[in-house]
Symmetry: C2
Amino acid sequence: MKPFNKTHVTGGARTELHDALELTGAEISVNELPAGACVPFVHAHRQNEEIYAILDGAGRMTLDGETVELQAGDWVRVSPAAKRQIFASPEVGIRYLCIQVKAGSLGGYTAADAIL
Amino acid sequence: MKPFNKTHVTGGARTELHDALELTGAEISVNELPAGACVPFVHAHRQNEEIYAILDGAGRMTLDGETVELQAGDWVRVSPAAKRQIFASPEVGIRYLCIQVKAGSLGGYTAADAIL
C-alpha cells in the first residue's frame, strides 16, 4: 500500500472518499443539501457507527424520533441501530461530513498508538 | 450505549472528540496551527490509519520525507507506518481534522451496511 493518498474536494451534492483515498478503516462523504432539502429516507446501520460534522449552514436530524438542531461546528455520533434522517434548514443549506467506521473497532489511539 | 451524542467545537489549538462523543471506532481531533507554526515532532502509528481534512488556510505535510502542499478542501490518507509532520504556511494558519481509525477495520459500508 502506498504511504499516502491525496485528493481535493471542491463541492457538490455528495463526494465519497473511500476509493479516492484507498481508505481501509473508514468511509467518508462530503455532502451538501440546499435549503429545504433532506436525505429522502430514514436509515440505520448493521455494524457501523456514523459521525456527522456540520461544516456550514444549518439543519436538523431526527434520531430515533428525537429532533436535534444542527449548526456549523456541531458533531454528532450515531450508534449503528439508531434510525436517522438529516434535513437542511428551510432558510439555508447545510454542508456536512459523514464518517462511517466499524463500531468498537478502535483500541489504542493517539498516545497509545503513536511512534515518535 | 446511547443512540447518539452531540458536541460543539468552537475552535482552539486542539479539540479531541473521542470522549466527548463516546466514539468507539475513531478518534477525531479538530486542530489549528497559526501561520509559521508546526506540530513539533515527526510521528508514525502502530495500527492506525490517519485521514487529514484541511478545513481552512494552507500549509504542508512531510510524508516519509516527501513534501505535500495543503490547501482548504484537501484530504490525505496516511498509512500507519508513514512518518508524518504537518506545518502551517508561513503566511496563513491552517485548520484541519485528523481522523484516526484502525487500518483494515472497515468491511461493509454505505449500501452494504445500511438498513433502510
